[in-house]
């Protein structure tokens, strides 16, 4: 199987392009996703291949983007609705939470809301308090939605394809600092199943479970810790709802220690849900308290030094691990 090294940014554009070729009902709409190729470059080349009918630039109207996508899905299309930044999904939270997530249920299980809401999340590039957040916990709180957040190009492409082909609304989150990272992606068509975590690195001393940018930092931390004789298992959750709790529990039963990490704020972050599930299902296996790594309850400042200080880094993961060994 031929494998190339491409960036997450390229992998996302490829996934959309291939799905649009495969299925004429797939289309994308959002701000600056057309000729410009997307503010974060994840839709480059689509407009040139498919034209403005299927690559629809929208006005700065987040509620209309999601509302129209919902209607289009009900009418038989498979829309990918892009909200440029996850911070601005707050503008269309009624559409996401009250309409998209509930339309099937409140219509007696009749319509299939096959649509993807694609948005860019997390910080790390100095965009400040309103352009650096990550609201995965908000979406995960809502039955009716599925939520995925890839940390590498392979998963980025495979999860997006699975989301587009699926029969339910999926929130697809790409992390801003990971878009330029390269990784192996096969030439052949593939999907990554929604709802399955992946053990990225096996280990026996402690389990780290995370997603997004922190996951990449944790993989680096695992190497540093290995040099000190600490063998850390690293699980990429990848799909946040539905959560693959079994993979986490199985790992904790082996390592007896857990650190859960994300870049979103600590309080009511999804790490708390992971910790709750583990203590409910594997309490007797734990040899230490579960440790959370997250942005502290602070806004994300623009100044790069301040931002780095607030957002969890490789050292934060290492310190958390050592605190429970």
């Amino acid at each position: 199987m031929a494998v190339r090294q491409i960036t997450l940014r390229e992998a996302i554009a490829e996934a959309i392009k291939e799905e649009m070729r495969r299925d004429p009902t797939v289309f994308i709409m959002g701000e600056d996703i057309g000729k410009f190729g997307g503010s974060f470059g994840t839709t480059r080349g689509l407009y040139q291949e498919f034209g403005e009918e299927r690559v629809r630039d929208t006005p700065i109207s987040e509620t209309a983007i999601i509302g129209f996508a919902l209607g289009a899905a009900m009418g038989g299309m498979r829309p990918i609705a892009e909200i440029m930044r996850c911070d601005w999904t707050t503008i269309c939270m009624d559409e996401i939470v009250n309409q998209v997530a509930k339309m099937r249920y409140m219509s007696g299980g009749r319509p299939e809301i096959h649509m993807v809401i694609k948005t860019n999340c997390e910080g790390g590039i100095g965009l400040g308090p309103q352009h650096s957040q990550s609201f995965e916990a908000w979406y995960c709180h809502v039955p009716g939605l599925k939520v995925v957040m890839p940390s590498n190009p392979y998963d980025g492409k495979g999860l997006l394809k699975a989301a587009i082909r699926g029969r339910n609304p999926v929130i697809y989150l790409d992390s801003v600092t990971l878009l330029s990272l390269s990784g192996p992606v096969p030439d052949e068509d593939y999907t990554v199943p929604i709802g399955k975590a992946e053990v990225k690195k096996e280990g026996k001393d402690v389990t780290f479970v995370g997603w997004g940018a922190v996951l990449v930092k944790a993989l680096n931390a695992a190497k540093t810790l290995a040099n000190e004789g600490i063998d850390m298992e690293v699980i990429d959750l990848r799909t946040l709802r539905p959560m693959d709790t079994d993979t986490i529990i199985n790992s904790v039963k082996k390592t007896h220690r857990l650190v859960v990490g994300h870049e979103a704020n600590l309080t009511c972050g999804l790490g708390a849900e992971v910790a709750a599930r583990v203590q409910e299902q594997a309490f007797d296996y734990l040899d230490a308290p579960i440790k959370r790594v997250a942005a502290p309850d602070c806004l994300i400042p623009a100044n790069r030094k301040l931002e780095k200080y607030v957002l969890p880094q490789e050292e934060t993961v290492i310190a958390a691990v050592k605190s429970i060994l």
């Binding site: 009918e53 006005p59 899905a73 219509s107 339910n168």
Partner: protein
């Protein structure tokens, strides 16, 4: 466009069906049979029936929290709708949605949202699907005067016009948003004038006149079907029911409105009375025929009540059904 006698008698029958249904609900609410709440559309019957009669069988429709009339006018089974209002297993959502979530997918009545203004853009999205799939369908999106002040109204109409989607926006202006009168809701009470801002035709019409509603909607639907884009129609009506919604109230009063206002509208501007009188004057029906139509609607309603009351409550475990579509068998 001349409506035939046969069409008009059918339309009058539809209006009466809605009237009997809506008029009876407050009583059933007091008896505890209507679950939660309900929003009745007394006074808006000519809009629902005039508009729905102007549509093709496969045209999409989106409604609001005040949807019973729209569903009935679209031809939905009264039994199923009432059973849903009573939240029974036999209702259109199996009792999960209740009065604010009426739909009939078999009739392309794509449902209703309980958030005021929450479906205006979704209606445009249905139009977008029709346009992209080239099905020739048109979507019709209902909302009220209150919803016209939501941001969704602005965003949806702007985008619909930019993309020339085949969508007809029908604002049923019953002159009150919750308890606040139009003059305290809209800086410019002429809601249709806003269409100019979105570069689409906008017209204000008498929403009590069945003929006017039908003709206006028909023309807008045909325009949309020709690919000429969306329109805004504002149908002026009046909230004949005392309250915005069915609620437990010590005093089901009309205190938020000037004394005598409701009585005057009932007396002089009741669309059922107006349509009935006109049809008799036109020689399309006599008093006897009118009574026959009214009796038939009453009989249908009585049967619906019987059906709904005797329908089972949904089994508790069904609460978990229908949240997600099974992924197996996807594309």
């Amino acid at each position: 466009m001349t409506l035939t006698k046969e069409q008009l008698l059918k339309m009058y029958h539809q209006m009466v069906r809605i009237r009997i249904f809506e008029h009876s609900l407050p009583d059933f609410f007091q008896k505890g049979l209507v679950v939660g709440t309900g929003h009745v559309s007394l006074g808006e019957e000519a809009v629902a029936v005039g508009a729905m009669s102007a549509l093709g069988e496969k045209d999409f429709t989106m409604s609001t929290h005040r949807a019973h009339g729209h569903a009935l006018a679209r031809g939905a089974d009264m039994k199923i709708i009432l059973a849903e209002v009573f939240c029974r297993a036999t209702g259109c959502t199996g009792g999960k949605g209740g009065s604010m979530h009426i739909h009939d997918f078999d009739r392309y009545f794509f449902g209703t949202v309980g958030i005021v203004g929450g479906g205006i853009h979704t209606g445009g999205g249905l139009g977008l699907a029709a346009k992209m799939l080239k099905t020739g369908q048109v979507s019709v999106c209902f909302f009220g005067d209150g919803a016209s002040n939501r941001g969704t109204f602005h965003e949806a109409l702007n985008l619909a016009s930019l993309w020339k989607v085949p969508t007809v926006y029908i604002c049923t202006n019953n002159q009150y948003a919750m308890t606040l009168p139009l003059c305290k809701n809209c800086a410019n009470p002429d809601i249709a004038a806003r269409a100019a801002a979105y570069n689409m035709p906008g017209v204000s019409i008498d929403g009590l006149d069945l003929w006017t509603v039908y003709d206006t909607v028909k023309a807008a639907v045909e325009r949309a079907r020709r690919g000429e884009g969306p329109s805004l129609i504002v149908a002026i009506t009046y909230r004949l029911s005392p309250e915005h919604s069915l609620r437990v109230s010590a005093d089901p009063s009309t205190q938020y409105r000037p004394k005598g206002e409701v009585e005057e509208w009932w007396e002089r501007h009741d669309p059922i009375k107006i349509t009935r009188k006109k049809l008799i004057e036109m020689g399309f029906m006599d008093e006897k025929k009118a009574q026959e139509i009214e009796a038939a609607a009453k009989k249908e309603f009585d049967e619906a009540v019987e059906f709904a009351i005797n329908s089972p409550e949904p089994a508790p475990e069904t609460a978990f059904e229908g949240i997600y579509a099974p992924e197996e068998g996807g594309k």
